[in-house]
Amino acid sequence: MSRDYPLGTIRTEQVWKRFRADQQRMLLRDRVEQAARRLRGDRGEDWRWALRDINLHIEPGESVGLIGSNGSGKSTLLKMLTRVMYPYAGIIDVRGRIGALIEIRAGIHPDLTGRENIYLFGALLGLKRREVAGRFDDIVEFARLGGAIDRQVKFYSSGMQMRLGFAVAAYLEPHVLLVDEVLAVGDAVFQQRCLDRMREVAEQGTTIVFVSHDLPAVQSICRRGVWLEQGTVRVDAGIKDALAGYRDSIEAQSEATARVGEPLSLLTYEVRGETGEETLHTDEPVTVELTLGGDYRGDATLHLGVSEGTSSPIFQISHEIRMTGGDHRVACVIPRLPLPRGRYTLWAGVYSIGKTDGGTLMSWHSAGQFDVFGPMLDTPPRAVVLAAPVFVPHQWEE
């Protein structure tokens, strides 16, 4: 019917998926009522598209980050790739063994012990008992389960279940590895090891599709990014471009949410470089100038922050100001900007002094973005997540 694609290929062509939009109770009497209504000529069915016209072609060995806001259809797409769910229309073709970690308990049978689960999952992947036995020690070692391996999985903590699930999925040498937002329950050390392992299997030629809201982690694993929005592919490109597009859209959204009814608001802001020019450069002076307006009179603290994407701020500074009921202009000079090349978001918020809660005069929000020109940050060692990239002026001596 179709061409013979090599193992590890993922292909979807015009894939559509819909779910019932109306509430369904799955009871016989509801069905009888429904049938009665249908006889009267009322269709009574209401469907909603979860995925529309998804065309993806992923080569063996590619690592693809699947990003998008909640409910955009990422998990649904992964479920269809694992063949757990069926599409409404379209062609889905995944070649080779699939290792999947869709939810924390992915493929884990709660009543069986960890050991039995490993063999069971191997069997599901089409491996022989002997083949699983050969990798058994690696899995237990990676998951750091120790004595818990002979305990029933339902008594594992979430993190332990995830460890086991990930270790099994990643060590049974699948041709395709699908990982949905699950690593978050692991502790920081284990997350890092998972990312490492994903890199490793990617280098061995395993195709990876990685879903996560942890964008730096996605960036550290994937070369290609697919951004889903409301069930359609918005951008399918290199990971940087896809992430940039996605982040821009998040920021556009959070800027759009107006903060009405607060005592103070940010009227204007400007970020400029040395001698007033528009472009900003790494390690050079930068001036941030803001105008605040509002009825409030009294002392307040102004907080400024800078972030990359929507993650937590890279750095954050504050200043006490006295508001007199009119517009208030304030400027801040940073003599040497510690940011490498990239696009950043400026955040601002004003709080009354001496109150830790309820004293919000202007809530913390992103004011806008600015670009910095300068040297690229050196690429980190493999699989290290780029979390808060700051440019630190430095000199080497030997």
Binding site: W16, F19, R20, M26, L27, L28, R29, R31, R52, D53, N55, L56, H57, K79, T82, V84, M85, Y86, P87, Y88, A89, G90, I91, I98, A100, I102, E103, R105, A106, G107, H109, P110, D111, L112, E116, Y119, L120, G122, A123, L124, G126, R129, R224, E229, Q230, T232, V233, R234, V235, D236, A237, D241, A244, D248, E251, A252, E255, G368, Q369, F370
Partner: protein, 299 residues
């Protein structure tokens, strides 16, 4: 200021797809998914899942036979207790005529078959519903879940057959030499039972309240099937229709003839039962496979 960046164009030749622009309103009708079953592929998948069937059955058995003595007792006690009651009621009170064979043996043969059927039906019907969390995450041919419950019931049946052997000792009779007829009858029994389990298991996923019907079916079935009485009690001209609807009738009757009376099972009845159970098996399987595609959506 946000959003000033230009729309990123896919360097791989894919399409940048701003929402609402290049997306058609619906999929082309010729691409709408239809379930296609290739028998060879199905068989291969099922074979590949044998480990899974074993593991699932083992889990159930292990849970039950954790206390070896009690677990074993449950498998034996239920049919024995029913057997005792049937002997009292049907043999002593109603005076069912069983010819040369002791009534207790006669009833027990029927009870083994019935117990196997009702175990598989009751457990099998819930086998998908109880494993929905697993079904939602790993792919495997879903028919393995009812199959595993049938495997468990088979183990119970084996124990029951062991007890039957002991009963032959107690009653000083030997199973007749025609007992090899039991083999084809066993196949009919398996086919019918699995067909029913397939249908009910997927029905319970979509209609959760179907499970409340199970006890009723079980209660009525034991009397609607010739367990306590011979098939001959059913009016002669209705027998063929009856066996067509309930092949277990012919199966039980066949076992009795082969094991207790040393006769070959009635050829005509056995053929009807075989044809009927094949219809149940194939029909149930197709029904199951058709509805299987939506299980993850409603889970």
């Amino acid at each position: 200021m946000g959003g000033q960046r230009a729309q990123v164009i896919d360097e791989r030749g894919g399409r940048p797809a701003p929402p609402g622009v290049a997306i058609p309103a619906g999929p082309p009708p010729e691409l709408v998914f239809k379930r296609r079953l290739r028998p060879l592929q199905v068989a291969h998948e099922l074979w590949a899942a044998r480990e899974l069937v074993r593991a699932l059955a083992e889990r159930d058995l292990r849970a039950r036979y954790k206390q070896a003595v009690l677990g074993f007792a449950w498998a034996v006690l239920t049919p024995l207790a029913l057997c005792a009651i049937f002997t009292l009621v049907f043999h002593r009170a109603v005076k069912i005529e069983t010819g040369a064979a002791p009534y207790t043996l006669f009833a027990y043969v029927g009870l083994i078959v019935w117990q196997f059927f009702s175990n598989t039906m009751n457990q099998g019907a819930l086998s998908l519903a109880n494993n929905l969390s697993l079904l939602n995450k790993v792919y495997c041919p879903r028919e393995v879940f009812p199959l595993a419950t049938m495997l468990v019931a088979t183990v119970d049946m084996a124990i029951g057959i062991g007890v039957l052997g002991l009963m032959f000792l107690v009653f000083w009779t030997a199973p007749a030499a025609t007992f090899l007829w039991a083999v084809p009858l066993l196949l009919i029994q398996f086919a019918f039972t699995y067909g029913i389990a397939l249908i009910l298991s997927v029905a319970v996923v979509y209609l959760r309240d179907v499970r409340h019907l199970l006890p009723i079916i079980t209660q009525m079935g034991v009397f609607a099937t010739p367990v306590a009485y011979p098939l001959a009690k059913i009016p002669h001209r209705l027998q063929e229709i009856y066996v067509g609807l309930n092949p277990l009738g012919a199966v039980i009757e066949g076992y009795r003839k082969a094991l207790l009376y040393g006769e070959a099972p009635d050829g005509r009845m056995t053929l009807i039962a075989a044809a009927s159970s094949l219809v149940f098996l194939v029909g149930g399987y197709l029904f199951f496979k058709k509805l299987e595609t939506g299980i993850a959506d409603v889970a």
